[in-house]
Amino acid sequence: MVTGDRLGERFGRLAYGGAVWAGFGFLLLPILLVLWLSFFSNEILSLPPDGYSLRWYEGLLTKRDFIDGFILSLEVAVLATLAGLAVSVPASLVLVRGRFKGREAILNFLMAPLIVPAIVIGAALYIFFIQVEIATDIPLAGSAPGLVGAHVLLTIPWCIRLLTANLVGLDPAIEEAAASLGARGWVILARVTLPLIWPGLVAAALFAFVVSFGNLEISLFLVAPGETTLPIAILQYLEWKLDPTIAAVSTLQVVLIGAGLFATDRVVGLARVV
């Protein structure tokens, strides 16, 4: 009886450990396979590879689609992150500190871009931009402000969520002390509040950047004809073929984002962010 139970327990532990590592393996397998493929010397996928080569990485320098897509994604993501933070910091301050009617409702309202399916937001904005353009002659469809505005919308819920989570832990007494010593509102914000919540700011900036940089569904509707962001360029290439070139592009993206996450982990600790 006892030995049976022990055996069962040991088996259970083994199964649990196996399931944990299988889960991690499942998460990382597709990324590792892409990394592997990017070093194949043969262009058409066949395993095992004929040999290994770095030439696909050199070849990337001539791929205008990917370079232009990367630059556009980078520009849009940087602008969207800055604008997202600029509108979210004041809103978060008020939402955390204030006790007023409708606070909960406004919080939910600002979270809405996270709940509405991205493909629906993209379709709605596409139709809206075209109709606005017809009505007012303001060219929004396929324009940079339209694309950036849509990406700012995407970053707002992430910024608000991460900033409010950080502000809750901040003791208002510290700011009151600064005020009682004669500091004015803006000085308190710049010299006391923001430095104290900077892990939240870093986290919000990182998430906003990554959410914008990686967005596919909304950009798909809003880029100008002939223009692509990096995720769209990758998708369209993959619809056509899978080869070491696209794997090399993907690898560079993985390395870039991995480095950003690793830096965040060193600076603020990933466990506090996610």
Partner: protein, 285 residues
């Protein structure tokens, strides 16, 4: 009272930019789309002003679109069940581990989330292709002679979406499991329960609201999946999100695309609200 009013104005001013952005870039476009979903579409004449429910009727009655909705629901349910099963052990391990390298383990969960669905789909294409890893391994071990067709099957799409959703589910579950008082589990263990009984009778019931939340999240993400079905399912594998994009962008059938989008959104929002209500009622927050 003047200070009270000044205070209220300052509050409104601080919240206005973010709120106006959500209003202008989300609410107004959605309202316009809702209106257009009741317009009618005449081939060759684009969109014709009307107030009709014909688009919604078409969605409910046309066998093709019923198939699209049915396929999307089937895939989403399968994905959700699989994701919860695969995700739980990882989440529990993350929540309970004492290792110094927790940051790195979290990185392993978060990195896939951030590298984009198309990149992950590319990885699965390496595994699933005719000359891919799975077929080569099966052939090397002598289990099959002729390569299996894995790409462009529901299996490939389901595996692909599971791997996309897994990160979200693991993060949601592990924060819930972290919130469970360890002493409850220790009490059960000290009273003679086996680890499995402890899990079944203590941990699982305590984590049920989180399990529901993670399940709903996974279901919603699958319903709205775009890149994974396009790349791993191929052109003939039609799920809701790719069909919405196709109707609006390629076919320029705005009224029908709008009604498809609205149904997709209503299912998503309805489920979120329903799950929140259920958790609130059952566990009274």
């Amino acid at each position: 009272m003047a200070t009270g009013r000044a205070m209220a104005w300052r509050r409104a001013g601080a919240m206005a930019p973010a709120s106006l952005l959500v209003l202008g870039f989300l609410v107004l476009p959605m309202l316009l789309m809702l209106r257009y979903s009741f317009n009618s579409f005449v081939p060759g004449k684009f969109m014709v002003e009307a107030v009709t429910v014909e688009n919604y009727v078409k969605l409910a009655a046309d066998p093709y679109y019923r198939h699209v909705l049915g396929l999307t629901l089937t895939v989403s349910i399968s994905v959700t069940i699989l994701t919860l099963i695969v995700g739980w052990p990882v989440a529990q391990f993350l929540a309970r581990t004492q290792t110094r390298h927790k940051g790195l383990l979290l990185l392993a969960v978060v990195l896939p989330l951030f590298v984009g669905n198309a990149v992950r789909a590319a990885g699965w294409m390496v595994a699933f292709g005719r000359e891919g890893l799975v077929n080569r391994l099966l052939q090397a071990t002598g289990l099959i002679d002729v390569p299996l067709q894995i790409m462009f099957t529901p299996t490939a799409v389901i595996i692909g979406i599971v791997s996309v959703n897994l990160s979200y589910v693991v993060l949601t579950l592990s924060s819930v499991i972290e919130g469970i008082d360890r002493r409850a589990e220790e009490a059960a263990l000290s009273l003679g329960a086996t680890p499995f009984e402890t899990w079944r009778l203590v941990t699982l019931p305590l984590a049920l609201p989180g399990l529901l939340a993670a399940g709903v999240l996974s279901f919603i993400l699958s319903m709205n999946a775009y890149a994974t079905p396009v790349l791993l399912g191929g052109p003939s594998f039609q799920m809701m999100a790719p069909v919405v994009a196709d109707q609006v962008l390629q076919r320029a059938n705005w009224p029908f695309g709008a009604s498809l989008g609205f149904v997709l959104m209503l299912v998503t929002l309805g489920l979120t609200a329903g799950a929140n209500w259920l958790v609130g009622r059952r566990y009274g927050r």
